[in-house]
């Protein structure tokens, strides 16, 4: 029974790893000193992006058309989203609108 259970979890882990690899790469954008770093990120559909706020003050990560939005990120809080073809690539911080950045999205997961 124990052998069957561990074999099953092994299959699930492998399946999850395969799904994760097929879903694309993982990128991290740091918010530090009122800058999104990197400010321009080249990604593909299916990639995953995590934003982490390293500033004392809260920020947001918000599409310019409000189609995607992290909500308030306090210090050291993070938020992630998967990249979808056709999603709004330009984003900013609602609290500090001079903070702007852009995603350069390609549709090919393997590129």
């Amino acid at each position: 029974m124990a052998f069957a259970m561990s074999a099953l979890s092994g299959i699930r882990s492998a399946a999850a790893a395969k799904a994760s690899a097929a879903a694309g790469k993982h990128y991290v954008v740091e918010i530090r000193d009122f800058i999104f770093d990197p400010a321009q990120l080249e990604i593909a559909s299916g990639d995953r992006i995590t934003w982490i706020n390293r500033d004392i003050v809260p920020h947001t990560v918000t599409a310019i058309d409000r189609s995607w939005d992290s909500g308030t990120l306090e210090r050291d809080e993070s938020w992630e989203t998967y990249v979808k073809e056709g999603m709004q690539p330009d984003y900013f911080c609602i609290f500090h609108p001079m903070m702007k950045a852009r995603l350069k999205i390609t549709s090919d997961v393997s590129s």
Partner: protein
């Protein structure tokens, strides 16, 4: 070493430690007085922001004011946490008192305004206030702060306040 000279130096340094500072210029303030000025300056801007939320009908002014409340509160909390860690208390001084009395006058003036007149006055004051405080922090405070952790906090805070200055500039332009 000359014992008489040593005892005189010790007496002078002890009196300097227990007596209030007689600083007459911002660059003469000690670290605890500088911390007090920073806390006062933050609190004043929070006060202006609450006034703006109460009087202005402009959504952009409201967004800016809420950002000022969020950000200056965060800086003050960071400063208080640091002072607690260092086991010291901020010291009142001539500059904190001057900032407070000037703020009282400005609040009285802005309370009598409404509509576009208030929005313009608030935005222009935010730009001028942040410019003045940033200049003070950059030229008079940071070069003279002795405690490394306090200096590091002020360097972080200056970046925040410069972003505010830029934001206030955008707000002033949008109201023209």
């Amino acid at each position: 070493m000359n014992t008489k000279l040593f005892l005189s130096a010790l007496a002078i340094s002890t009196i300097a430690w227990i007596s209030p500072s007689s600083a007459a210029s911002p660059s003469e303030l000690n670290d605890l007085e500088i911390a007090h000025v920073a806390y006062t300056a933050d609190s004043i801007d929070i006060r202006y922001a609450h006034l703006a939320l109460a009087i202005s009908k402009n959504p952009r002014i409201h967004e800016f004011a809420r950002t000022m409340i969020r950000d200056h509160t965060a800086v003050n909390e960071e400063a208080l946490a640091l002072l607690k860690e260092l086991n010291v208390a901020p010291q009142d001084n001539f500059l904190s008192q001057k900032l407070s009395s000037d703020a009282d006058q400005l609040v009285a003036e802005m309370s009598g305004l409404s509509g576009d007149a208030f929005d313009k006055r608030y935005a222009e004051n935010e730009l001028g206030y942040h410019k003045a405080v940033n200049g003070l922090v950059e030229t008079a405070f940071i070069p003279n702060i002795e405690t490394p952790q306090v200096k590091a906090l002020f360097e972080k805070a200056l970046k925040i306040f410069k972003a505010h200055e830029h934001h206030a500039e955008m707000m002033v332009k949008s109201l023209k």
